[in-house]
Symmetry: C2
Subunit: 135 residues, 2 copies
DNA sequence: TTAATACCTGCGAACAAATTGCAGAAGCAA
DNA sequence: TTGCTTCTGCAATTTGTTCGCAGGTATTAA
């Protein structure tokens, strides 16, 4: 068979809710469970918040999405294939900016060489003040 | 007068609870509100959790303590004068290691020069795998 | 196509963490 | 000491997340 659905390939059932959650995460870039639910509801009003939480967890288990901690307590979910940037969280306006992973390459190497610490670059948020707010 | 209490200098009232919370944060190095409460209760059983939260907030407002996000949802508080290191949070064992701020100097400069982002080095946790766990 | 069987979903309850309102207690200036 | 204001303790509330269960549905094999 030429095209197995990516969810089926992971041994998951192909439910509308699950597809919608995955699609929402991909479209939103980064989003809290709440935001994902809201997005999904814009086309499928009936979906339950528990279902969103359970699917995010399930999708994370099979590696299709990941979560990071951007502060404020809640986890933020990302599509796995899109985690190619750092998150620059502005402490003033709360905006989330991006920077390529390469910007941290030196830093990661330093930590590895000097402290034996293997940084997971995809799982960390950087706090500070964005360009706009530092004026 | 030679010695104004540091809390009074900030315009705060000098209550036993407030002093205990500040002292606990200093002794613990980094601690969640829950841990601070527990520490304070070891000598002052009656103290209320709300009081701990409110005092942490108050102390943060006047700059005596700071909080960082080390993941897991909860904030972690530090005495302001001790924030001279980065936090290396191990995703395997959960341990919190230290590294001097200088290790990030290049990284911070890169973000500032290339993206106009002023990183608050004291407010960010770095995820990865510590030396012990990466063996 | 149908039937069997996991797996999923929706719902409500349960839970934990953090916050708030209020009344009384305590710190502080005069 | 008096009086004002802030702080504390308590209880209730809010918010974010998880869980149990009963019914529904995707999937496989007949």
């Amino acid at each position: 068979m030429a095209k197995q659905h990516e969810l089926r390939e992971k041994g998951l059932r192909l439910t509308p809710q699950r597809e919608l959650v995955l699609q929402a995460v991909r479209e939103l870039g980064h989003a809290t469970p709440e935001e994902v639910a809201e997005k999904v509801r814009s086309t499928h009003p009936g979906i339950n918040l528990s279902t969103v939480y359970r699917n995010l967890e399930t999708l994370e288990n099979v590696g299709l999405v990941l979560h990071t901690h951007l502060g404020h307590g809640g986890a933020t979910y990302h599509a796995a294939e899109e985690l190619t940037h750092l998150h620059l969280v502005c402490s003033v306006c709360g905006s989330i900016g991006d920077a390529p992973i390469e910007a941290a390459a030196n830093f990661v190497n330093t930590l590895s060489d000097d402290y034996g610490f293997k940084t997971d670059v995809t799982h960390f948020a950087i706090y500070g003040t964005c360009q706009k707010c530092s004026k």
